[in-house]
């Protein structure tokens, strides 16, 4: 049924299948040298150097983890400082809708016991940093994503096992499907496939 839009499958990418990581790396270099920019590779293991060949870099995750860690540390100490009424600001100023600090004199230690308050703040630093690392990685990777146009390619069934797939995406400015297929064949892959998508239309 048409909604006034063109919902027919569109070209998404051309993929070539290789048998080893080294063959893939070699092919990726040639593809980059041929001027293709929007590339990706799908491999069962992390192949080091691929992202360098693709001239693609992303350091955002490190910052996310760092900031999460800072947030955890601050949150931990803030919680301990506020709940123990550590700094003598008027109590009413700190009251939030019936929430009160609960100052306790423990062995005459200061209300804000910096060293003794360290372990919970430390654990919260680690907890939030770990959340940042895991959920940040998933978010930047766009996962979970149960379906992806690439799963339409027959060779993707073995990309998690023993096949190394090189992909040139249709978003590439120099993308001309027939030319890409022709170029990919010259890399002597095991197979070349055109991948279509109906996503986003």
């Amino acid at each position: 049924m048409s909604h006034g839009r063109d919902t027919s499958p569109k070209p998404f990418a051309v993929v070539a299948e290789f048998g080893t990581a080294d063959a893939l790396l070699e092919a990726a270099k040639k593809t980059r040298a041929a001027g293709y920019r929007d590339m990706d590779a799908y491999t069962p293991i992390p192949v080091h150097g691929l992202t360098d060949v693709m001239e693609w870099h992303d350091d955002k995750l490190g910052w996310v983890v760092f900031l999460h860690g800072c947030a955890g540390f601050t949150l931990g100490y803030f919680l301990e400082w506020w709940t123990s009424g550590g700094i003598a600001i008027s109590n009413t100023a700190l009251q939030v809708n019936g929430l009160n600090p609960y100052p306790m004199n423990v062995g005459g230690k200061p209300l804000f016991s910096l060293p003794a308050f360290f372990p919970p703040a430390y654990e919260l630093t680690i907890l939030l940093a770990a959340f940042g690392a895991v959920f940040g990685m998933l978010a930047f990777n766009g996962l979970p994503k149960p379906h992806h146009p690439l799963f339409n390619a027959a060779c993707m069934g073995r990309a998690s096992s023993d096949r190394y797939i090189l992909c040139v995406e249709a978003t590439d400015p120099r993308y001309d499907e027939d030319a890409v297929v022709e170029f990919m064949r010259s890399l002597e892959p095991l197979s070349v496939e055109r991948v279509m998508t109906s996503e986003g239309y």
């Binding site: 080091h48 372990p119 680690i126 770990a130 895991v134 990685m137 149960p146 069934g157």
Partner: protein, 486 residues
């Protein structure tokens, strides 16, 4: 992970393997039910044949029921069913808590510390060890939870706004424990799950049954192994390892603070944090060996978990064992050298064979934890499965006695002679202990059944590196630049 300066030890992956054969060796243990029904062996029950998996799972299941019964008894009647009483308020519950937490530490050490140190031998044992971490922490967590007496209000331990206007007492090591253990549990599960994602994708693509395909597709979250994804994935792994390393050190340090911050003679010792951490690694490696030996035999994984792995694990065990033994010596020395009458009395109370009612526990500890592990000096014994199994079991027993000696025995006689007493655990103490061992076995064998017990993609990476080292000259001949590897 990034960068590989040393060549791969050929003995880490024995036999002819390809990517596909690794998938089959590891993945088919899960996808093929029949792998768990063989070999059929005789059981003590006459005429009943069963597979090792079925036997172990059965034992685990029975003991889980013992656990449920013990917990029901405890909650129905109250903490009085345990042997804890004045003067010993911390008995089996805390002993077992510390014991389990310690066992968990090997998993994080193998997955995090060895990752940072780029030790490739971690690859085939890390998944199993991480599973142990999670299950051991689950067993550990039960004890303080139930020891609160009213586990249904255990959330009081966490800081949350409430109409009582109360907040936790953040100077208390027990509150630190809540933060440390819950963080440890959460981070261990995350680390484990992240490691599993690519393997779930492999299993999704390999599975034949619709249900398995669907389940693994969901768990893999649509992982497709994109180079960009791998880049962030490895980045995340290395950072998780970086934050897990201080975490694992902090957890047992904080557990040791539960004692070291107290004034009880025998607890108030500054050497506790490092010696507890070393003890945890010691106990953890012993447990990994105890499980790895039968599992590799049952599932024919001799090519993946090799003698080299056992050799190194035994060496780590020996090294940490020596640190622990040094700790024991220092405890004795501190007590003697301090000249504090209470400390000297405690020392006497621990070691005097005739006068001290619990000295048998101390000497059992020295034998099982101090003497027997010295067998690991002999290379031949590090290669002998029977000796390894005996030593690792001995260490598990010894580490339990270590906590028994420290916790209840120190409490039986502290400062006031009028308050001296004895500690005798009850049937339900033993029920809980056996029950948690059962829960651990039960969960481990469920894990073996449903999740890949060896990290598939890391083994493939190892294979890749191994073949790469082999054909290094060819790479140079083909003009491959060196920095590609880094």
């Amino acid at each position: 992970m990034s960068g590989n300066p040393t060549p791969v030890d050929k003995e880490l992956l024995v036999g002819q393997h390809t990517d596909a054969s690794l998938d089959a060796t590891i993945g088919d243990i899960i996808l093929d039910q029949s792998r768990h029904n063989e070999p059929q062996v005789k059981t003590p029950i006459k005429g009943l044949m069963s597979s090792p998996w079925q036997i172990m799972f059965g034992i685990g299941f029975l003991l889980v029921n013992v656990l449920l019964l013990s917990i029901t008894m405890l909650i129905w009647n109250g903490i009085g069913v345990w042997g804890n009483n004045q003067p010993v308020g911390w008995g089996f519950d805390i002993v077992n808590f510390v014991w389990w937490i310690g066992i968990g530490h090997a998993g994080t050490l193998i997955s995090a510390v060895l990752l940072l140190l780029r030790q490739r031998w971690r690859n085939s044992i890390n998944r199993m060890a991480e599973a142990m971490t999670i299950f051991a922490v689950m067993c550990a967590g039960l004890y303080p939870l139930l020891h609160t007496g009213r586990p249904w209000v255990a959330y009081w331990l966490f800081p949350y706004p409430n109409w009582l206007g109360m907040w936790p007492q953040f100077r208390s090591p027990l509150v630190w424990d809540v933060f440390a253990v819950s963080t440890y549990m959460t981070v261990s599960i995350l680390f484990w799950f992240v490691g599993l994602i690519p393997d779930f994708a492999t299993l999704r693509d390999r599975a034949k049954s619709k249900f398995a395909q669907f389940a693994f597709a969901g768990l893999s979250m649509g992982w497709r192994g994109s180079a960009k994804h791998w880049h962030r994935y490895e980045h995340a792994s290395i950072m998780l390892a970086g934050i897990s390393t201080p975490l694992v050190l902090s957890v047992h340090t904080i557990v040791s603070f539960d004692f070291a911050m107290g004034i009880v003679p025998g607890w108030n010792v500054t050497i506790f944090p490092p010696y507890f951490v070393a003890g945890a690694v010691f106990a953890g490696f012993a447990m990994v060996i105890t499980f790895a030996i039968p599992l590799r035999k049952i599932y024919k994984l001799e090519g993946l978990i090799t003698m080299k792995h056992f050799d190194w694990m035994a060496k780590v065990m020996l090294a940490t064992g020596l640190i622990v033994f040094y700790g024991y010596i220092m405890e004795v020395f501190y007590a003697y050298y301090s000249g504090v009458p209470f400390e000297t009395a405690l020392l006497h109370n621990r070691i005097a064979l005739k006068d001290a009612p619990y000295s048998w526990a101390f000497w059992t500890l020295i034998l099982t934890n101090g003497v027997i592990p010295q067998l690991m000096w002999v290379p031949k014994f590090r290669q002998n499965m029977t000796v390894l199994l005996i030593v690792s079991t001995s260490i598990s027993i010894g580490m339990w006695f270590e906590r028994y000696v420290i916790i209840p025995i120190s409490l039986t006689r502290d400062y006031v002679p009028g308050a001296f007493g004895f500690y005798s655990p009850t049937l339900w103490d033993f029920g809980m202990f056996l029950g948690t061992i059962g829960l651990f076995i039960f969960l481990m064998f469920l894990f073996v059944r449903f999740l890949p017990m060896i990290n598939i993609f890391e083994m493939k990476e190892l294979l890749h590196q191994k073949t790469h080292d082999h054909g290094h000259d060819e790479d140079h001949a083909s003009g491959q630049p060196e920095e590609v590897l880094s």
